[in-house]
């Protein structure tokens, strides 16, 4: 009789090889993410718009408005210090492409960061800020938190970063 070219043995071989292949990076990222522990934050839609890489490290970009947050490692949730977070937004100084509205800060020992800016104003219909991690040690993430109201004087966003 005619045996089909596939059988139980060949199926198990193929499934095993496919599983081993899927466990390699980059798909391993998803396997890691599904394991127990803190999930990495995903880039938000529109988060990278008007990004200018390597925003200068600054003490402040203005006064009256605070952009803040925390940075932790995916998995064990350990706070990450000395990590550069780049921040930009449309403010009373101008739009998101105004260089004076771009700056970066380093996280403190407890993983927190904060940057004082001028008042953020609505841009393209929403008052919001942009924050980015874009360096070598962890996977790049862009966040775009929306403020509840244009009268808010602060906004925050927390990063959970996946080791690169």
């Amino acid at each position: 009789m005619n045996l089909p070219f596939y059988n139980r043995r060949s199926f198990l071989m193929a499934a095993g090889l496919a599983g081993a292949a899927l466990a390699q990076p980059p798909l391993a990222r998803f396997a890691f993410a599904q394991s127990s522990g803190l999930q990495p934050t995903r880039t938000m839609r529109g988060g990278a718009n008007n990004y200018r890489p390597n925003a200068p490290l600054v003490d402040r970009l203005g006064s009256g408005f605070w952009v803040s947050g925390t940075v932790r490692r995916a998995g064990d949730g350990a706070p990450l210090s000395g990590v550069r977070i780049q921040i930009w937004a449309a403010t009373t100084l101008g739009g998101e492409r105004e260089p004076k509205n771009h700056g970066s800060v380093l996280t403190a020992a407890d993983g927190s960061f904060r940057l004082e800016t001028e008042q953020i104003v609505p841009n393209f219909g929403q008052p919001h800020a942009h924050l980015a991690y874009d360096d070598a040690d962890f996977e790049t993430v862009f966040l775009r938190p929306v403020m509840g109201s244009p009268r808010d004087t602060s906004v925050s966003a927390d990063f959970v970063l996946l080791p690169a």
Partner: protein, 196 residues
């Protein structure tokens, strides 16, 4: 006379109040122009149905429908200027909206309205070539116009921008009411598009 003044007020007040927005001081010229093109387009949508139905006293239906065509061209111009101004301000944000991947919830309604405007302009330009007879033309135009009006209002009301909120709501309600009343009048009550 009062009707004309009323229409002018409904259209002008929201535009004037938007011009007083403090946020304009923080915007470049392309963003301001693009934003106002959108605001003016919304205001023109109030006059459009009134002209189509010949509600404004004096000139008569034929003349008002002639103006309806000019105002229609103005709406098309304003919509194009709105997208162009936004594109100059931030190409990435504008492309996100046009490709339906913007993070803002109101963007898709803007694109729907834009699609309706483009379709309407195409239909007007190709009307003779398509050989559309008047009843079919009316049906399609009225249907697309209704979609454009609703989508524009839903778009505008969700935006935090230069328009002062109360006047934006007032204009939006006026646009919806004018469109609704005219559609019912022309399509249900008169049933002949008002030409008789």
């Amino acid at each position: 006379m009062a009707a004309w003044a009323g229409v002018a007020l409904v259209m002008a007040v929201p535009v004037v109040l938007a011009a007083l927005s403090p946020w304009l001081a923080y915007r470049g010229p392309a963003y301001i122009a693009g934003g106002f093109a959108g605001i003016v387009a919304l205001a023109l949508l109030f006059a459009q149905p009134l002209l189509a139905a010949g509600y404004l006293p004096g000139p008569g239906l034929a003349k008002e429908r002639g103006w309806h065509r000019w105002v229609g061209a103005a709406v098309v111009f304003c919509v194009v200027a709105h997208v162009a101004g936004l594109y100059i301000t931030s190409p990435q944000d504008t492309m996100d909206a046009l490709l339906l991947v913007a993070p803002t919830p109101f963007s898709v309604y803007g694109v729907i309205a834009l699609a309706g405007i483009v379709a309407t302009a195409a239909m007007v330009a190709l009307r003779r070539r398509m050989g559309l007879r008047y009843p079919a033309w009316r049906l399609i135009h009225n249907g697309v116009a209704a979609v454009v009006v609703v989508a524009t209002v839903v778009h505008a009301l969700q935006i935090e921008g230069a328009m002062e909120p109360w006047s934006k709501w007032g204009l939006s309600v006026a646009v919806l009411a004018a469109t609704g009343v005219v559609l019912v009048d022309l399509r249900v009550v008169r049933r002949d598009g008002g030409t008789a």
